[in-house]
Amino acid sequence: MKRTLIPLVVALVAAAALAEAQTKPATSDAAPPAPSTVISGSVTAGVLQVSNDTNSAKFTEYRDLRDKFYLPMVTFGALDASGGWGLEFSAANAAQNDQTILMRTGKPGVWTVQADWSGIPHNFSNKAVTPYINRGNGLFTVPATIPITFKKLATSAPDTANVLASDNLIAAYQTTYLAPVALSTQTNAGRFGFTWDGLDALSLGVRYDLRDTSGSKSGFGPIGDRPPRTLNVQLAEPVDYRTGDFTLSAEHQGRGYQLGAEFLFSSFANGTDTLKWQNMYTSAAAGADYDVWDRLVSVYGQRPLPPDNQYQNVTINGGVDMKGDSRLFGTVSIGQLDQNATLLPYAYGGSALLNQTLPRSTASASMTTTHAAVDYVFNPVRKLSVRGYFRQYSLGNDTPSSNWQYATQDTYNTNGSVSYVNKRTSLPIAWARQNFGAEATLRMAKRNTLTLVFEHEGRDFDHREANTDENIFRATWRYKPSSKMSTEVRYLYGGRTGSAYNNTVTHEGYWYTAADSPDNNNPAVTFDNHPDTRRYDVIDRGRQQVDFRLNLVPAESFSVSAYVRYRADDFDSGVGPSQPLAGTGLAEQNAVSPGNQLGLLEDGRMRYGVDLFFQPVPKVTVTAFLNFDKGTSAMKSLEYNENNKQNPSTIATAELGPWTRASSQWTSDTTDTTFGGGFGASFQVSEKGAALIADYTFSLADIDIAYGGFGTTNWDGTAFPTNHQFYFATPPTVSEDLHMFNLRFEIPVKMLFVVLGYGLESYSLNDWQQGSSAPWVEAVGADTLLRDTSRSFQWGNRLFNLGTYLSPSYTAHMGFVGLRCRF
């Protein structure tokens, strides 16, 4: 690739240089005027002091805030006024993790060299702890394993005393071996580009974007084939990503038309291919890679991390101006994604029972994308603009479809075989979307504008339950009688229809033999998801949205604007009772589903707010804003035993009952509200430039989930105790409040400015999912071992994690003293 690209880049640059040389004006006999280069810039340096009472990573989530001396801002500019050449340089937080460096030089309208470099820290937690030791290259080991006594994975062998004794051993283990672990990543992103615009008819560009991310983030290591038998642990997953994008572009501007082309080559590389972690609950005999429980349990788990991949894309754009101020614009784009990592084996280690042959040794994953769009804008009559458009996007999948075993590296059937239901086929997921429509804008009297739009969107999927077609209507009215006032009202309606819902399409993801059919759970004979389920992205949807905006500018020194947005989506798809086993010949082929749609049913959002700007005198500026955001959603589901799909009546009175029982349904209604606002003020205290700037911002969020039905009660209405394995009820409100106050004072002292700054932030978080105080969960020994309050013997209800509330509430103060020098 380098052999082709390097000469091409050289050719581009040479062409640019050649054309540049041809554009130089002829010299005259007169002596040229002396060039004048203006140098300017500023340097701000100072000391920052920070206090964060809980050392919460939330405070420094995307910022590098700590006690330090640093340069908050450096700017430099050089301008050749006569020749137009200029250099601009700025560096914010230079050499810090959150630095931003911008450099641009060139002759505007002729050539430009641009280089940007920015750092993006992402701090997840300062309080994560783990017994695991990072050995490098994705390998994690523990200093010692836990001498548990309950070495059973079978689901029918409760042994409460030994289970609880093992839990206590895990708790004791924590006090000895837990150690802090960094949970953060640092991304450094750079962009280097050269653009040449020396000719009005031609411009060329070459650019390289680099994105490098390293560190650790929260990940998980599951060992086990099914949830009751899952030995799960939360890990500090290594991140070592590098993405490089190389872009070549060229554009030609002719008389009334433009033609452009762009080629992109993107490469992603992960420095760590595999995550491998020691199973802390196991100890193996010499030479063995598994421990002997009631099943063989692997002493290591492993899974692949994001694989290296490549993406290439060619895009051609064209636009032509036509008669009557009309314009035709089109774009065609072709892309390809490839990934061909070497696959891990089914099983870790050398267990002959699990080392079944893979259908292929590498991923061989490949997709193609095609995109085409055409827009035509014209004015058939005065004051009427019309736009017609068509867009097509398709994602094709050339990844081979193969038959695989779900044979994990650890636990499996006691005879060493794998369950037939886990014979899985990888499917080449693909889809296509077409949009076409027309838009008309009529400019009426008294600055009224009316816009009407009709759009049709069609989506076709491979291996999905349905395709969809949607008709969308939009109407917008704008009124701007003067520069002092404008208002806009917009209405959108979309009616989406899904084709006949094929609930059995998921059968394509399994491969079966005749001997597999008798099993009660066999999805090929019965169904995968409950027949009343409708996946919201491929079903009917009625959506409406109303927007209102008002802007008032009664004077240059005062303006106020307000907005309201309301949106409602309804996914009602006319679901009724069905007989999914009809025609199968099974004894209960006439079993009927309840016929209530399951899944996401409704989704809505209401937003409104107001913005204010006021400048009573030139030295004083005040801004303020308030916004309210409320989201609501409703969903329904039904609990049933997947092992009785063929014979639901046999478990008619069991807790984990049949799929035909309506009283096993549950509902949840979520309300997500955010109330935010802010106030800012700046005062120019003196003519010499002394200024006081203050701002305050707040955001108050609450999430409420109203839960009812099965889980709060049994199917017969009997209340579940809180430590029941199925118990769930309306949880506590999730609340998150953020307050930020900043004050800055700038005082001129001769040639310098003294800058004094103070910041106060307060953040409080209460989230039942992040903690261990809800009725269904308890910590054992420390909050790094969470256990379901049912205390069932199954390993699957225990989670060894990095801790709860990894980014907790905090109150932080920041103080800054610095000097700014301008030159």
């Binding site: 041809q22 910022r63 008819a201 899952t230 991949n309 060619v314 314009r327 379901d788």
Partner: protein, 306 residues
């Protein structure tokens, strides 16, 4: 081999454009013509003064701030043929010099104001400007950009940053930026232009034709493709995420496991927010085990647990 084919296609496309451009070099400099009279009838029969000093004699204050802008430097290096610096944007001003009133102001209609800028700036990211949502919503170039003074380090914006500029018309987005989970926009690590081409015509004015293509620009580790695909993920990241901000972790649209339960109803532990498993409503919910929800490359990755 495949890479070489793509390199050839890309090179051929670039070469065609290069050839077209260089072959046109010998012709006169084409610049999109502006019918000034259609913008303001008062321009009829007016001619270009083509002398910035004439303008400066009355408008020195305005030109003081203008002097440091990129336009001033560009026109100093390459004065527009025929019209000069000021009149390339303000139109032929001979009649204004004769009678200096505001009669020749360009109307506030967005198309009128944008037509002036588009005479030079209709290429690049602005190819599809006329077909984009901003243009058809009567947003003009001067809604976001200011020419006569430098208010921002880049792009001649009306406000100091792109985020402030966008928030002046999209205040509802500003509220989302302060939510629990958010892109690092309010921290200044990125801005709206990281995902949006505000001058383009893609759906939602994204930089790429689809949401996923846009997200992969920074999140290439999710690009795959994978042996095991998660179908709604491959179609659109927005099926599970809301990019402007969310009160759920990692920009999710709903609290896990409710998000997963809106599509999955196989039976057993899948169907309840609590079922005595590590899918329980603590930690990351379903993702405690189903860690490769964006796609898996493990032979036993069918359930996205590896």
């Amino acid at each position: 081999m495949l890479q070489k084919r793509w390199i050839r296609w890309g090179s051929l496309s670039l070469a065609l454009v290069l050839a077209a451009g260089l072959s046109a070099y010998a012709a006169s400099k084409p610049r999109k013509a502006v019918d000034w009279a259609s913008l303001n009838a008062g321009f009829k029969d007016a001619t270009f003064v083509n002398n910035a000093e004439t303008c400066k004699s009355c408008h020195a204050d305005a030109m003081h701030g203008y002097a440091g802008t990129v336009h001033a430097r560009a026109f100093a290096a390459q004065p527009p043929a025929g019209s000069g610096d000021c009149e390339s944007c303000h139109g032929p001003r001979s009649k204004h010099v004769e009678n200096p009133t505001g009669a020749l102001a360009i109307g506030e209609a967005s198309r009128a104001q944008s037509a002036i800028c588009l005479q030079c700036h209709e290429g690049g990211a602005r190819f599809g400007w006329k077909a984009g949502a901003h243009a058809t919503s009567d947003v003009s170039c001067t809604s976001c950009h200011t020419v006569m003074s430098k208010q921002s380090p880049r792009a001649m914006l009306t406000k100091a940053t792109a985020t402030e500029t966008c928030a002046s018309c999209h205040p509802e987005i500003r509220g989302e930026l302060n939510k629990m989970s958010h892109h690092p926009i309010r921290e200044g690590r990125m801005d709206c232009a990281g995902c949006h081409n505000v001058h383009g015509s893609n759906t939602a004015l994204l930089t790429k034709p689809t949401q996923n293509d846009t997200c992969y620009t920074c999140h290439a580790e999710k690009r795959g493709p994978f042996v095991w695909e998660h179908a709604p993920v491959r179609e659109s990241c927005a099926n599970c995420h809301t990019p402007h901000g969310s009160n759920q972790r990692t920009l999710l649209t709903a609290k896990d496991p409710f998000l997963c339960l809106s599509c999955h109803n196989y039976g057993g532990h899948i169907n309840l927010p609590r079922y005595n498993r590590t899918s329980n409503p603590y930690g990351n919910g379903c993702s405690n085990c189903h860690v490769t929800m964006h796609g898996s490359n493990h032979p036993s990755g069918a359930k996205l647990t590896r």
